[in-house]
Symmetry: C2
Subunit: 344 residues, 2 copies
């Protein structure tokens, strides 16, 4: 049954989130960053990677999987690169440090690559890559998830993680932004369907016997996700594993019996257009290309969308209408608020 949605102003949700994570031991700037990324995910329509994680991260802090005060450490560095030990702090803190380092190096040089390991769940990749794009850089992020949920092409059962990829580029308008799991959908979208009491399209998952199903709960009962786009999506899924895990020393393959859930290995690349045609020329050309695509002929009465457009549009709408949260999730968040004696 479809669950009722509560709509809450972003400012209120943000303040509540910061109070929750500081109450759980996070220093204020770290709590603010984590909450900012989750609220931005909700605002841009990626509910599966948004406010719902207040609950999950709280649980992971309590279990010791997330060390809320841990500071990422650079263990290896060159002019154009770095390798960062996330020290099992918030994944967001590690990912932001990675992208900041990459941006700094690409703004000074032209291109940079920064990796990280011992890194918890970093949330929505688009936050970091579009952050770089708003600073005039092309940002790429190759990520593996150390938690098998996805079959490989031609295979059955869980072998690799949902291994997301994101790229963002400055255009002078809102950035071009692509950001997706290399599985048919992100695991979180199935969780969101469960939390919202919704059915899912039958091509998203297989049940434990390998059969298509519209019941999202089957994923929690031995089912699995599939790579998107046949063998071509499968290639990307593997590339994320090699770049995110093998290159950085992050966890890969079968789930360890003990350890944080959904760890992420990260490899970020930043490219400064000033080393090529120049930023202004790059943005002008990109706008022309994207406009040409957007104005090309659509099927039927449809509309051609540019990657990023739905996100930025949803963000504008939700800033006015509030963030929608399924009632059961909101009730759990309120329960957590009470447990932590937060008055707001």
């Amino acid at each position: 049954m479809k669950k009722k949605l509560i709509h809450l102003p972003a400012g209120y949700v943000r303040e509540l989130g910061v109070r929750i994570f500081t109450a759980l031991g996070a220093p204020l700037p770290k709590a603010e960053l984590v909450v900012e990324t989750l609220v931005e995910a909700s605002l841009t329509g990626h509910d599966s990677h948004g406010v719902i994680y207040f609950l999950r991260y709280a649980e992971r802090i309590r279990k010791g999987f997330i060390r809320p005060d841990a500071e990422p450490m650079i263990v290896r560095e060159s002019t154009s690169s770095a390798l960062v030990d996330g020290c099992w702090g918030f994944g967001q803190v590690t990912a932001m440090r990675v992208m900041e380092l990459a941006a700094e190096k690409a703004l000074r040089g032209v291109v940079s690559a920064v990796g990280a390991y011992n890194c918890n769940h970093i949330g929505r990749l688009g936050y970091y890559t579009s952050w770089a794009a708003r600073r005039g850089l092309i940002g790429l992020m190759f990520v593996n998830v150390g938690h098998p949920m996805v079959s490989v092409y031609g295979g059955v059962g869980r072998v690799l993680g949902t291994n997301p990829f994101s790229a963002s580029a400055p255009t002078g308008d809102d950035p071009f932004l692509m950001d997706y799991a290399t599985s048919t959908v992100a695991d979180g979208k199935v969780s969101w369907a469960i939390a919202s009491g919704m059915r899912i399209p039958s091509h998203w998952i297989r049940d434990k016997n390998g059969r298509p199903t519209e019941d999202p709960n089957e994923l929690r009962e031995g089912g699995w996700l599939l790579p998107f786009g046949g063998h071509k999506g499968y290639c990307l899924q593997l590339l994320m594993e090699l770049m995110g895990a093998a290159l950085t020393g992050s966890r890969s393959g079968v789930d360890p019996e003990i350890g944080p859930p959904s760890t992420n290995g990260i490899l970020a690349i930043a490219i400064n257009p000033e080393g090529f045609v120049g930023l202004e020329a790059f943005m002008k050309r990109s706008r022309e290309i994207l406009r040409m695509v957007k104005e090309s002929k659509a099927e039927g009465d449809g509309e051609i969308l540019i990657p990023g457009d739905p996100e930025w549009e949803t963000r504008r709408r939700r800033l006015e209408e509030g963030i929608p949260i399924p009632e059961p999730i909101w009730n759990q968040i309120l329960k957590l608020k009470d447990e932590l004696s937060i008055s707001l």
Copy 2:
């Protein structure tokens, strides 16, 4: 009707190719490189990008689109990057220069990005990325094709090129190698089906009225290719356009009335694992991951393939059995040989 295949030893085809291009004005080393990439494409099973191009490049040289003696020129350079003017020489000569520069810079530093414009058709991307992988680097290539043949997601008609992407990584064994058009298939695979007198799967192309068809000739009569993998493949298709064309200043969008066919804008990235976990550790971990994937449970009686495996296997077989060429193509090549008074 399916056409007869002639099988020819790689060595003979190679020598014939070099004689053809030198007769058409190419300096020996450039002719050798171009032919090497085409013969390697045929050997690894990518017939659509192989020996068939002896004919097309010959035609383009005669029309003045390819300048067989042109040398690529670096127009902008930093420690980690370069922008190359291909000067409308052979695309292969430009692409190889790009990858050599990228490799040199990544071996000295850790990461590099090199772009090129005024660049003719470069053939199979995997040649360059796997060349980098065999030198201990991860090689990525983002390419746009300045010749619209592919619709965009949700759209009808030709908007962008087949915009291929390739990534290759060293493993200690044959490299991991992914290399594909971001369209359902490469344009050349349809040409190959036409040359071989074969039908094609109905999801490859649309006819000029937007209907699925199994007749490859429909692509030459106003039809178009589609991006692979729905909106996720479409995002990659656009990323190739921004990286390959907007960043380098290469041709994009509608075909100019006059100009070389199938131009390529290139952005190559090379990453040196020594800046991260180290090359040996990276290769060991990659082998473990790929073995784990390969040995995971397959559907039915199937087998899990690793990207690159089919290529390297086909190469070993064809080195023994020869390169298969449809008789009509071979006859055209023999005609060209006679026109150029080549005795072999």
